[in-house]
Symmetry: C2
Subunit: 273 residues, 2 copies
């Protein structure tokens, strides 16, 4: 491990704006930590691209975050976690935390009937990463994965509560209802914003697991173990936001979900890293 | 102009697979021409990215196509045409044809009441490129532009005919109906695949203009003027397809819309150009 200072910032990245829901959880649970956020808006989305391409993108982003002297990296994107986490961890001198472990762990703990649904992008579900993780944590569960490619564009179109989104949710989720899942992982950072619709379609008896919340908890635990938790510094105010394109648009979205934070977003050329 | 051979191929590019609808029109109207197709599947979509980013991408792609010795380039993507056509034309030694001119021209010719609708991505509609082009061709028309960001993901999800797509189409198109447009430009290469739905929502009295068809006609005219039209060579069979990611997936889609063609798709690293 590289020599790190507990006062160093935490790097958080995503293909775009979805990872801001993870940043929000980190700010809420670890208010003293400073965050360096990067959204790869010039190349988003990641969900319909290949493993090889995503690994290449993620390595560039790690080099950028390392250049900012972060003490840990959170891969706040399920697809990037699915494809690139192993590679990023392999030769890293700092902790790298993905989205898959913490949510999987909670899902395996709370299910009663052993039927767990996982919804995500095509990349996340076809990689089978959640199923493999749950199998390793608690063998013998029935994990059903379902890609929901229209959910991200619906969120980005602002249709968080709409008849159209209800229809689309029913189209995707009916087979998970029929399979009688009692627990469902929202395996894409945009999906918590559709939580109400998804809950309405799935019914009251299905427990929805939000990996953003669970990952922020796991991050706190890891930082504590490594002696990297920032304490007694007071609430952090100097978060930094970067995007590879349309920094203004990301700033606007960040402002709408990170209320009360001072947000200043800069554009960088990520291919230089 | 660079010395060119009429037997040289035509370069056609798009952010992904949508431009294959343009390639299909070119193959149909210019069956003797050989096509080199490039889809930028590692960085798609273009519709929600900035002008500056799209210009950078388009210049890389032009360098790739030039390395394949094409005699002309078709920018088979409305967003790239909107943002990058001027730059690509500026210092080009070969003809560069975009999607905007030919469709605009036909729309201005066929409208009776002067109310023309243009639907496309956010990039295309916010650039105002169709409106500006029509204003220059025939001043005084009432051109109403409307972004339809969900149409592309709906096509890619296979929902070409679905209750959901009907609902989304009504949501987007109602204001164009109220504005009593009698002519509507399908300003995104994916949209001709939703032609039935769009026609149903708009009604029989609205004439739909497909820029892919009109652009292939315009290309033929330009090649003839430049002495670059391939004649008496027989039907071309050696089309080449390239993608920056997921070549297999593009090959599958190409097979479904270019029936009867022999398709072999290769992956290239476009950032090397």
């Amino acid at each position: 491990m590289r020599e790190c200072n507990a006062d160093a910032p935490i790097g958080v990245f995503d293909s775009g704006i979805g990872g801001l829901t993870v940043a929000r959880e980190i700010m809420s649970q670890l208010p003293e930590e400073k965050i360096i956020y990067f959204g790869d808006t010039a190349r988003l989305p990641y969900g319909n691209k290949s493993r090889e391409t995503i690994i290449g993108y993620a390595k560039q982003i790690r080099r950028f975050l390392e250049s900012r002297n972060v003490k840990a990296i959170v891969v706040a994107c399920n697809t990037a976690s699915a494809y690139a986490l192993d590679t990023l961890c392999e030769d890293s001198e700092i902790p790298v935390v993905g989205m898959i472990h913490a949510g999987s762990k909670v899902a395996t703990q709370v299910t009663v009937n052993g039927n767990i649904g996982v919804i995500g992008t095509s990349g996340t579900t076809s990689s089978g990463v959640y199923k493999k993780m749950m199998d390793s944590l608690k063998p013998g569960l029935n994990v059903i994965q379902k890609a929901c490619p229209l959910f991200v564009p619906l969120v980005e179109e602002g249709l968080w509560n709409s008849k159209i989104t209800d229809e689309v949710a029913r189209m995707y989720l009916d087979e998970l209802k029929e399979a009688q899942v009692d627990t469902m992982v929202l395996g894409c950072t945009h999906y918590p914003l559709l939580k109400e619709t998804i809950a309405r379609v799935m019914g009251d008896n299905v427990r929805l697991v939000n990996p953003a919340y669970e990952t922020a908890r796991e991050l706190k635990e890891i930082l504590r173990e490594e002696g990297l938790l920032r304490v007694n510094g007071g609430r952090s105010t100097g978060h930094e936001f970067y995007a590879s394109d349309l920094a203004d648009k990301m700033q606007e979205f960040a402002g709408s979900i990170l209320t009360g934070e001072s947000i200043n977003t800069s554009k960088i050329d990520i291919t230089e890293y």
